[in-house]
């Protein structure tokens, strides 16, 4: 291993001209001797004798070279090399200490690296465009605080016109869901953009070309993302020019992005196409587009907003010509993820949890350094006696800490790569089912640099306190001049005790957090939607037709077919403003046909469902959920009462509905919000705008049954991709599973670290106190008393830690509860709050049991003889 050092230092020396320095020095001295010998030779001495005399006269060349090195700029390098060598030898001697310390540091470094690798591409890296710092997105806020973020194509095009005074490289975009392919159609996400999008985003291409205005005139082209290329064409190497069926429309492939390249969205779509190139799908005509671009140089976001407001007001004049209070808003967007109210507390609490686990590890490492420094008192005091200054000793100790961290950082890189790949596999597999892909998580140079920087900080930070403490002691001893150790108590013991309390206190929030999140994931898995999920299939036929519905209904194994606006668990239900009895409320609404309640299996509590003639004529009748009934007319029967819903198309126009039935509360939007707090079902039939989903109840949802559905669609010239509703639920659960995975890993790590710290402390204390135990046993203490004494001390420390940790937990829970309300997330989960401290206590007892038993087994005679 010493050859490793030699090789490393040789490399270092070469790297910074050290080799040259040495050879220059040697050449200069040699010249001197030669020149002197020349002079002597001229005076008649033979050459060999002249050289001998010259060398003698010169003196000890090596000594002068050493002086030269000391005045040179390489002195620090030499010292560093010597320190590193010493540190390496020291660690090699205490290899068990080194192994544990490296494992501790490597585990937290790896955890932090994985976190950073996930966050970096979304939160920290600037958008991959020139002028990313000027990138903005537009929205409009009206007088009542409602915001509009997308416009019809013509209006959006006006906003990005080239004569826009404040915006350049303006582009429009819209994410749309489509079905791609004929035989085996796949659900897919497409980003529809303006040609100007690719003037700004210049993606790296694997083949072909990006889309431009020319492309539009020549053909109807699409640009595949790398993942889209793999998913939709099975990585066809000759894909250029190939036709793909997109919602039944034939489009040709113009290019494929390189791996890792993407657009400006956090989730990379399967492909891009140009707005207006193809008006495909039932929703294309009503599609709206968001607008982004770069602020012109020197224009601030506020100035831009002020300049855009008049343009925005001309886009769609307000109904009735009243005063227009709409105002443009310009939101800087510098990274892939947009700032959001829910994301920020999530990111902050994530960072906080990782910070906690890092702090636990740091306390642990500090404690280990203290123990080691105490154990090495003798060694250090000899060095001090030989004249090493305090600074020199401290540097020696710190070098050891840094070397240790650096080795740990190397190890952490490997660990992080392996775990990032594993986590990525879990998370991405669910997402990719839906035609989305996420950026690959890479442990790249940035992440590694961060790890080494953090390792350096940990190395210095954790070594500093022990180094100060130990070297202070040496000075006192040196002053006492007796040069021997007083076997006195050493305050590092108390410090280490405090560090254990700290570790326990910091671990507790992590453990409670793990408990809370694991429970929430468990709740999410056992969630009761209010209807049976088995055999519920969401089918998105393109185009949907009455013939197709009839055909589906006649298939064997199909128990029910219903046409809906929003399929169960598809996402948030649309919200509408409702007037009733002179009051106003914002409620969620869905549009369903007469078979909805029977197909899904929602019981009607009062009244009746829709009749076919009501859905066909979109009659002004409604079924409301139990919760809605209670909310609008508490304690009274809602049947026959009426309310009004604002028309989504015409602001200020209301339509009157009569309540004909009350349905059970079920989960129809996002499952984590629980059963719908409000739901109004309105009658609708096939062909109405906004209605595209057909939901089936089938006997079997295995692959052959789904294949039969596909074939039935294909027979009638339609495309469809059956998706079990259960899968939608699975997708919604992903964040909870990820949170559970992360928090439980951190919890386990923290528990392990805290126990390791306690174990180390107790074991060390037991060795230190062997003599004391010997004396106590000799004067009549029982072994049981020694055992309970040692264990009692551990319990007391853990108790203190828990007492300090609980308020932190409560504070965190309060913070999270105030920001995030999920029905499955019980932030004050009593089980976690009561079990986790007990778990910590039990683990701590176990960790101190073996050293305590050893203390109890002390042989008084040998213990006393030792001194």
């Amino acid at each position: 291993m010493s050859t490793l050092f030699e090789r490393l230092s040789a490399w270092l020396r070469q790297a910074i001209g050290r080799e040259r320095f040495e050879s220059d020095m040697a050449a200069e001295l040699e010249f001197h001797i030669e020149a002197h010998a020349d002079a002597l030779e001229q005076r008649g001495l033979p050459r060999p004798e002249a050289l001998r005399q010259a060398r003698l006269k010169f003196g000890a060349a090596e000594k002068y070279k050493q002086e030269g090195r000391e005045v040179s700029r390489y002195r620090h390098l030499d010292d560093l090399q010597a320190d590193l060598r010493d540190a390496y030898r020291g660690l090699k001697r205490d290899s068990s200490f080194a192994a544990v310390a490296i494992a501790v540091v490597a585990s937290v470094l790896a955890a932090n690296m994985v976190l950073l690798a996930f966050l970096d591409p979304y939160f920290l890296r600037p958008l991959p465009i020139d002028g990313a710092s000027r990138h903005v997105e537009l929205s409009v806020r009206d007088g009542e605080g409602r915001s509009q973020e997308a416009w019809p194509l013509a209006a959006a095009n006006r906003l990005i016109a080239e004569d826009n005074p404040v915006l350049e490289h303006g582009y429009l975009f819209s994410i749309r869901r489509v079905i791609v392919g004929g035989r085996e159609p796949k659900r897919s996400y497409v980003e529809v953009v303006s040609p100007s999008y690719f003037n700004l985003v210049k993606p790296r291409l694997a083949m072909g070309r990006a889309l431009s205005a020319d492309t539009r005139t020549i053909d109807r082209a699409i640009l595949l993302s790398h993942s889209g290329w793999k998913r939709l064409t099975d990585a066809d190497p000759r894909v250029l020019g190939r036709q793909l069926l997109v919602d039944g429309d034939s489009l040709s492939v113009a290019g494929v992005l390189a791996e890792g390249a993407g657009g400006l969205e956090p989730v990379t779509p399967d492909f891009w196409m140009l707005a207006g190139a193809s008006q495909i799908g039932p929703r294309a005509a009503s599609a709206t587009y968001s607008v982004g671009g770069l602020l012109r140089k020197g224009v601030s976001a506020d100035q831009a907003a002020a300049a855009l407001t008049p343009i925005v007001r001309t886009l769609e004049p307000p109904e009735g010509g009243g005063p227009d209070h709409r105002e443009a808003r310009v939101q800087p967007r510098l990274t892939l993820l947009r700032e959001s109210r829910e994301l920020r507390p999530l990111a902050v609490s994530l960072l906080f949890l990782f910070g906690l686990v890092t702090a636990v590890a740091a306390a642990n490492l500090t404690s280990m350094h203290l123990a080691r420094a105490t154990a090495r008192r003798h060694d250090l005091s000899i060095r001090a006696a030989l004249g090493a200054s305090r600074g020199r000793l401290m540097r020696h100790l710190l070098t050891e800490g840094v070397l240790l961290s650096m080795i740990a950082a190397l190890l952490a890189c490997g660990l992080a790569m392996a775990s990032a790949a594993a986590i990525q596999g879990v998370v991405f597999s669910v997402v990719s089912d839906f035609g989305m892909s996420m950026l690959p998580v890479r442990i790249d140079g940035r992440v590694a640099a961060f790890a080494f920087a953090l390792a350096f900080v940990i190395g210095i930070g954790c070594g500093l306190l022990p180094a100060l403490q130990t070297t202070r002691m040496h000075r006192t001893i040196a002053l006492k001049r007796d040069g021997l150790w007083l076997s006195g108590t050493f305050s590092s013991g108390r410090l280490r005790g405090a560090l254990v309390v700290l570790q326990v206190a910091l671990s507790l929030p992590l453990l409670v957090g793990a408990g809370v999140f694991v429970r929430s994931a468990d709740n999410a898995n056992r969630v009761d939607t209010g209807y049976r999920l088995d055999g519920l299939i969401d089918l998105r036929p393109e185009p949907p037709s009455a013939r197709l519905i009839e055909r589906l209904r006649s298939l064997p194994g199909v128990r029910g077919v219903t046409v809906v606006g929003n399929a169960p668990l598809e996402g948030h239900l649309p919200r509408v403003s409702v007037r009733f009895d002179g009051n106003e409320a914002t409620l969620e609404t869905n549009e369903v046909d007469e078979n909805y309640f029977a197909t899904i299996g929602i019981a009607l509590r009062q009244g009746r469902g829709f009749f076919p003639h009501e859905t066909a004529s979109r009659a002004p009748v409604a079924v409301i959920s139990q919760a809605t009934a209670t909310r609008l007319w508490p304690g009274r029967s809602p049947i026959g009462r009426a309310f009004e819903i604002e028309d989504t198309a015409i602001q200020g126009q209301y339509r009157r509905y009569e309540v004909i039935g009350v349905a059970d509360d079920v989960m129809s939007g996002m499952f984590f919000r629980g059963r719908d707090a409000s739901a109004i079902y309105r009658p609708v039939t096939l062909g109405a705008p906004g209605v595209s989903s057909v939901v089936l109840r089938v006997d079997q949802e295995e692959a052959p049954a789904l294949e039969a559905l596909r074939t039935a669609c294909a027979d009638l010239g339609a495309f469809c991709e059956p998706l079990p509703v259960r899968k939608m639920l699975a997708q919604q659960r992903v964040p909870f599973e990820v949170a559970s995975l992360i928090s439980s890993s951190l919890g386990v790590l923290a528990l392990g670290l805290a126990c390791l710290g306690l174990h180390g402390l107790v074991r060390f204390a037991v060795v230190q106190r062997t003599r004391e135990f010997g004396v106590r046993l000799a004067i009549g203490a029982t072994r049981r008393q020694i055992l309970t004494g040692v264990l009692g001390e551990s319990v007391r420390r853990v108790g203190f830690g828990i007492a300090f940790g609980l308020p932190v937990c409560l504070g965190l829970s309060t913070l999270i509860a105030s920001r995030i309300r999920f029905h499955v997330l019980e932030t004050f989960d009593p089980l976690s709050y009561s079990l986790m401290p007990l778990l910590l206590l039990a683990a701590a007892l176990l960790a101190s049991l073996f050293p305590a038993l050893r203390a109890a087994a002390t042989n008084p005679i040998s213990a006393l003889r030792e001194e």
Partner: protein
């Protein structure tokens, strides 16, 4: 003529003075000091080099590799502007010191 060891701390001054007459290699510096002192000052040969390197590090002399009279590769030293200023200062300080020493020592002798 009898020789004398140089006073501690004066070697740098002597080197700067020797170099102020033109650039020299290390051996040349040594020869010039002996020549200027008519062989009265003895410089420990090897000790010359750490002193030269210290001056180089302080920026008082600059260095350049060249070829010596007898056609060998040698490192030549020259006084920098900063070195010249330093030499001026030190020479003044030395003069003051010598005058003060002489005053004390002679007064003591004559009294």
């Amino acid at each position: 003529m009898s020789t004398a060891q140089i006073l501690p701390g004066t070697l740098e001054l002597l080197i700067l003075r020797a170099l102020s007459l033109g650039s020299l290699h290390g051996y040349g510096v040594l020869s010039r000091i002996e020549q200027l002192s008519s062989g009265a000052l003895l410089v420990e040969e090897g000790a010359l080099y750490p002193a030269l390197w210290r001056l180089e590090r302080q920026g008082l002399v600059s260095t350049e590799w060249g070829v010596s009279d007898n056609n060998r590769k040698a490192k030549f030293y020259a006084v920098t502007r900063k070195g010249r200023a330093k030499l001026g200062e030190q020479m003044e300080a030395w003069d003051r010191l010598v005058a003060a020493m002489a005053l004390v020592l002679r007064n003591g002798v004559t009294a």
